[in-house]
């Protein structure tokens, strides 16, 4: 593995030498030049973020959900696991069980507000983009077949089969998966939590509507409201524990702890992503950034020039390289 990384840095010095597919390696961008796929190892990054990723609304929503999630976990978990030794201590920290339940409800409603705020932001932003003809579904969270291919490609890369990581959009397969999981989890938790909070209301609504649609034999002896109530009890707790485990062991590790992101990414506060991360995992979005931000074009052009001059001073005209046969092939390949 060390050798392959060696070859990669060699390639910067002498492009297209010993490379499998140059069109995979180089991406030609008008007015910038040919960008090697592993340029992210050589860019300067501000840890606070260089390129825009999230609007201020998304940052606020994330903070709201983050804080309410903490409160929901801290007050909900000791109720679910009420027989463990730390449960009474946590509950008394919140001022008794009745206060803890109140906090749980307030946090739940705040989270629902954040979710509604998010829907309004997303719908509004999408409509605005559609009307100004800027909308591109590839830059959204909508899952595509490409995400599956990207996952396979990435796995190949991790195994050492593929030479580079896939070129991914603003949201990669991991993020789309997590986003879908959040939508599903929120719907389940909101529905089940409401059923637990208003059992009498639920008992009046369910048999009148859903109960008539389903055959009685489906659920055995119980009545429909009892059935849905036990389903709600089950799903609210299970879904919540799952959310906690996924957030604690996957989300946080992924965004803050894995190498290259450690000790912390500032994206959730600044709404900006580092250049290095953008090029590594969201290359196609970086190409969009190059198109939209003149300063970024300027930076990349300078970097390419600098790298080529510094690494191979014996090659006299830098322009010759940009129009070498390999890049001619790469030309039609690049996507905006």
């Amino acid at each position: 593995m060390a050798t392959s990384s060696e070859t990669v840095s060699e390639t910067i010095a002498i492009p297209a030498k010993g490379k499998a597919r140059s069109d995979e390696y180089f991406t030609y961008v008008e007015g910038v030049g040919s960008i090697p796929r592993d340029i992210y190892k050589h860019v300067q990054s501000d840890p606070l973020g260089d390129l825009p990723r999230y609007s201020v609304h998304i940052v606020i929503q994330h903070l709201l959900i983050f804080i309410t999630f903490m409160f929901l976990v801290a007050t909900g978990l000791p109720i679910y696991f009420s027989d463990v030794f730390w449960a009474p201590a946590v509950i008394s920290f919140f001022g008794g069980i009745d206060t803890a339940r109140l906090i749980h409800r307030i946090a739940g409603f705040t989270m629902m507000f954040a979710a509604a705020y998010h829907v309004v932001t997303i719908v509004g932003g999408t409509l605005r983009k559609i009307f100004s003809h800027e909308f591109d579904y590839k830059r959204t969270q909508i899952p595509r077949l490409k995400d599956l291919y990207d996952l396979v490609h990435d796995l190949k890369y991790f195994l050492g089969i593929a030479p580079y990581r896939p070129k991914m959009e603003k949201f990669m397969y991991k993020q789309k998966l997590h986003y879908l999981a959040i939508i599903w989890g929120s719907l389940v938790l909101i529905a089940a939590g409401s059923a637990l909070l208003f059992p009498d209301l639920m008992a009046r609504l369910i048999p009148g509507t859903l109960g008539k649609l389903l055959p009685q034999g489906l659920i055995g002896e119980e009545s429909y409201s009892a059935f849905f109530q036990s389903l709600a009890r089950l799903m609210h707790a299970d879904e919540a524990v799952m959310a906690l485990i996924v957030v604690a062991f996957w989300h946080w590790s992924n965004v803050h702890l894995v190498p290259g992101r450690f000790p912390m990414q500032w994206t959730f506060l600044t709404g900006r992503i580092t250049r290095e991360h953008q090029i590594e995992e969201h290359f196609l979005e970086y190409l969009n950034n190059l198109r939209e931000i003149p300063e970024e074009r300027e930076y990349m052009r300078n970097l390419l020039t600098e790298l080529e001059i510094e690494s191979s001073p014996e090659v006299p005209p830098p322009d010759r390289q940009a129009s070498s046969p390999q890049q001619e092939e790469a030309g039609p390949e690049d996507k905006p």
Binding site: M1, S4, S5, S9, A13, D38, K41, H42, Q44, S45, P47, I79, Y80, S82, D83, A87, I91, G96, I97, R101, D154, Y157, F158, L159, A181, L196, P199, D200, L201, A203, R204, I206, L218, I219, G220, E221, E222, S225, A226, F227, S230, L231, D238, M242, I245, F249, W250, S253, N254, V258, P259, G260, R261, F262, P263, T274, E276, E306, L307, S311
Partner: protein, 325 residues
């Protein structure tokens, strides 16, 4: 007199030591502080007294006259109520069942009469409880004039009530021997899994404990669910739920208060629980696995979990990389 001495007692035939001390400091703060010893211990006629063979009868009339009442006070009413309940001893009961059934002093142990936890009880509820012992006439006026112990709840907390009932009802072997129904056998266990049980265990005074549902304000009239007088009898169930839940319906009353851990009755819920558990493990394991695999895979990118210049950002951790070669 003699019982004020702290070490008064005896060693019985089996070598067991009995302490007969009555601590005045405790007794004077108990509910029965105004009652003379011999009002309850009526069999004592001379001092020093003969060896005690009888037990206290709570149905005795004592020398206290309740306000606005002609007769002397007695717990007779509540004992009558109790005797009619599921816990009262019936002539048809088996010998083992007669033995197992609790009586006054089983729950109302003397230390309890020392004020444990005080909590304000709602006005209406307090008055309803007065009628358990006092005649209805005049008691309201008396209540308004005097501070009464019932305005402060001096009995067990919800958690203690559940623990008290669980003493016998959690003993599955005993319950099986006494031939109680299958649902009653694991009633404590299922209750503890319900939201009521969890909240009570965490100290809630609002959530329903055993007697909130199984007894009326008489507190002693616990009956089996096929008994028409029972608060959990099908037709009384709505009224029982109504004590806390604002608008119960017939559907609502059907919701399981004692939920079973494994929903054998409802297949969908049962399979759903398995499915959810599997999806939980599946999702977590695959996601964490992917992350670890990714971390492993990205190492060939030359990336390391080493802090340099305060971060592992490649751009900063390898400042010289640009000028490599």
């Amino acid at each position: 007199m003699c019982h004020k001495h702290r070490l008064i007692g005896r060693i019985d035939e089996n070598g067991k030591r009995w302490n007969y001390n009555v601590d005045e400091a405790i007794y004077n703060h108990s509910v029965h502080r105004k009652i003379e010893c011999r009002d309850c211990h009526t069999y004592i006629t001379k001092i020093p007294h003969d060896p005690v063979t009888e037990v206290v009868n709570c149905a005795n009339q004592c020398h206290i006259k309740p306000p606005f009442a002609q007769e002397k006070f007695s717990h007779q009413k509540i004992i009558d109520l109790y005797n009619q309940s599921a816990h009262g001893i019936k002539p048809t009961d088996s010998e083992a069942l007669k033995q197992a059934k609790p009586y006054c002093k089983y729950c109302h142990s003397n230390p309890l009469y020392f004020r444990i936890s005080e909590e304000r009880v709602a006005y209406g509820e307090t008055l309803r409880r007065c009628f358990n012992c006092h005649p209805q006439s005049g008691v309201i006026q008396a209540y308004i004039h005097m501070t009464h112990r019932l305005r402060k709840k001096t009995s067990r907390s919800s958690k203690e009530i559940v623990e008290l009932c669980a003493k016998c009802h959690q003993d599955t072997a005993l319950m099986k021997k006494l031939k109680v129904s299958a649902t009653a056998q694991d009633a404590v266990e299922t209750y503890n899994q319900s939201i009521h049980g969890k909240l009570v265990r965490l100290g809630s005074q609002k959530a329903a404990n055993c007697i909130s549902c199984h007894a009326s304000s008489g507190l002693h009239d616990i009956n089996k669910k096929d008994d028409k007088r029972a608060t959990i009898y099908k037709e009384n169930l709505m009224k029982t739920c109504q004590q806390c839940h604002a608008t119960p319906t017939n559907w609502f009353a059907g919701i399981a208060v004692h939920p079973k851990a494994e929903h054998k009755e409802s297949r969908i819920v049962f399979f759903m629980s398995i499915f959810l558990r599997l999806s939980l493990y599946g999702a977590v394991l695959s996601m964490v696995g992917l992350m670890l695999f990714e971390t492993f895979g990205r190492r060939r990118d030359g990336i390391k979990l080493v802090l340099r210049n305060g971060t592992t950002w490649r751009g900063q951790s390898k400042p010289g990389s640009k000028k490599a070669k």
